[in-house]
Amino acid sequence: MKLNTITIKIGGEAGFGIKVAGATLAKIFSRAGYQLDDYTEYPSLIRGGHNAYELTIGEKVYHHVRPVNLLIALNQQTVDLHVSELSPDAGIIFDPDKVKVAPQGRSFPVPFSKLVKDINGSELTKNTVAVGAALAVLGANIEGLLDLLRQTFSKKGSAVVDINIKAANAGYRYVKSNFPDPFAYQVKSLDTTPQIYITGNEAVGFGAIAGGCSAFFAYPMTPATSLMEFMMKVAPKFGVLARQCEDEISVLNSAIGAGFAGARSMVATSGGGYSLMVEATGLSGMTETPVVVFLAQRPGPATGLPTWSGQADLRFVMHAAQDEFPRVIVAPGDAEECFYHTAAALNLAEKYQLPVFVLSDKNLAEGGKTVAVFDQSKIKIERGEWLSELSGGEYLRYKLTSTGVSPRVLPGTEGALQIGNSDEHDEFGYSTDSGDMRTQQMEKRMKKMETLLKELPPPILYGPQKADLTIVSWGSNKGAILQAMEELPGVSVNFLHFIYVWPFPTPEAGRLIREAGKLLVIEQNFSGQFEGLIRQYVGRAPDAHLRKYDGRPFWPHEIATEIKRITKGF
């Protein structure tokens, strides 16, 4: 593989700290200068079941890749489930007292349980032993892990720090003494340009805070919950009000009330929770109250696959709520885009006084990645048009204007009363059923789509300007596609990535699609929801599609295989 990556996987029972062990490894390698991308699989359980954490590190990594080069098996099930994912020269670290492995690749039997007993540690410290062992197998030094353990457990007291240091050293030294021959995959120290290791949800959280969100409402739902927990914990330090409401109906209605009063509001949920927010979406549309709706997609319908990923809510979100009103849909492709475009979403919502969706999915939301440190100076907080003074006469909240946007006044301002009305209304805001006024208000609201379209960024083209094959995709498939393209240097392929998916097409997009080579549309839903937009709004029928709807991510090798298959026929 061109990029010299190493993929490490840790598996075990839920409740045994697999995710923490994985994140620990990721942090160590991130600090060592590696780029990385990770992926976690887990069932909707608290204990039992099987958790697996997968991490690809390299000098340049867009997306985690298979096959797996080093498997750390904390139980038998891990070996049984993942042995087929291993490269022929892969290593397996396992406890020979608990786990049997068939002869394959290179075995590193390390008696975790015995080592843990020797230092009087709990079952959970097995993970730290395993991480220490893995570092030794990979030829890394132990210092990075020890520093991290000291930082991580400093608040839990010196006893906890000590036991973890002991555990790490135990695993490390065992491997160093018992397996002197270097393993096929060895890490090195790289240039340490500053970078952060962060999940998509945390990036959204930072984007919201930096973007001036002042009120956040949510109800727990996987895979949005980690954003909610981040906001509840971190946001108040920045003066942001974060609240868990009694249900999702209350979440969006509260956010809209807050927005009416002048807050910059945001909510977070997944598809099932958003289903309960549909009516209030229309409330935002009709009252022209700004709100950002973060929706981290997972497979449905109904409860579906709670802890897995998908991209099947695009059409749902495009059309949600009765009748018609303007909205914007943003689908960032990685953690960096999560940061900058969540901030942008807050601006769009307030400038155009409408709901703006930020679509993520489980893989992006919960996957950790190294990215350049967020540059807050690139974020400008824009609040739209507000009347600076009241020039006598009645304030008209829904004044008919050429742009469709009516200037706002903060409720509570003397001399300017207003009605935010869910009924169709006249320019002041009084309820009306006049046909003429209804027509004018509908056209005013829809005019906002034309106005805002002008400022939406075009899709981004990766690769050569001209190519035989153009991949088109949206949201988090970005990393897997870029990684796949890296594996095929000789192939004539480029990639058009859409972050702004509605209104469609964004400026330039129509031209780029029409001028592209053969079109391959890649997305994680059954019916080709984004492909349909290309057909309907650009008038071009894509030549091929690649769809996945099993809850798993696209792996780069799957995309590479498809690219090769299609381009062979050219």
Binding site: A210, E279, P411
Partner: protein, 285 residues
Amino acid sequence: MKPEDFNTSVFPTWCPGCGNFAIWAALKSALVKLNLPPHKNALVFGIGCSGNFANFVKGNIFHSLHGRALPAAIGIKLANHELNVIAIGGDGDGFAEGLAHTLETIRSNVNLTYIVHDNHVYSLTTGQTSPTSVPGFKTKTTPEGAFEYPINPLALAVSAGGTYVARGFAGDIPHLTDLIVQGVWHRGFSLIDVMQPCPTFNPELSYDWYRQRVYRLEANGYVPDNRFRAWEITQEPFDQKIATGVLYEEDRLILEDSYPQISKIPLVKKDLSGIDISKMLEQYK
């Protein structure tokens, strides 16, 4: 200020004899007594005949969805606690569509006032049973008579931690005005369930019917400081005795107290220019 200062250019569209006119009068008088001009109030309405009230009174009005006035009202109050927030809805808003929100709002003890236009029927949709309908009430959707045990709003409020639980009567405007004034003064969530005659769709429960049953709690020396005693009042048979006044009142921390972020200035007046995430990002290196 005079009550007429709160009139808009739209004259109420309620039926002649509707109890809503009395509630309208009481609300306006209360705001005058409280010396709160229109721009200082946020009035949040649901959907129904009482919802149409949104067009008949001056203020910062939010005409919300059916049953969803309370979440919007909480959002408004948390965003700008300097606004006097009053939520207004019917028995359908508060005890059917929005029952969960009503309970949550009681629990939260957010500092706002909720006036329920309780006419024990759905009128704007032309006559269906409501959760507070008297059992056996015959309507277009319950031709055999309403079956379910009626919701008892004040009992719910008393058991869910209500800190100001009151019942008013549209036939006693001065008393209702006073209940609203006290409710706004009360630091916490104030629920006022107003008995509202609906001559069109619930003619049996007329002003006369109510006058034969209502009594003022305070006239008997009742002190609203005992939750158990208040509960007993809520259990009085509705077709015989209807207590009006404050059943229960206590002081407790309000929802806003749980958000130090808004302890000084309102959220909407927060300066958004000084946000700096760089220190926090260090933890991700």
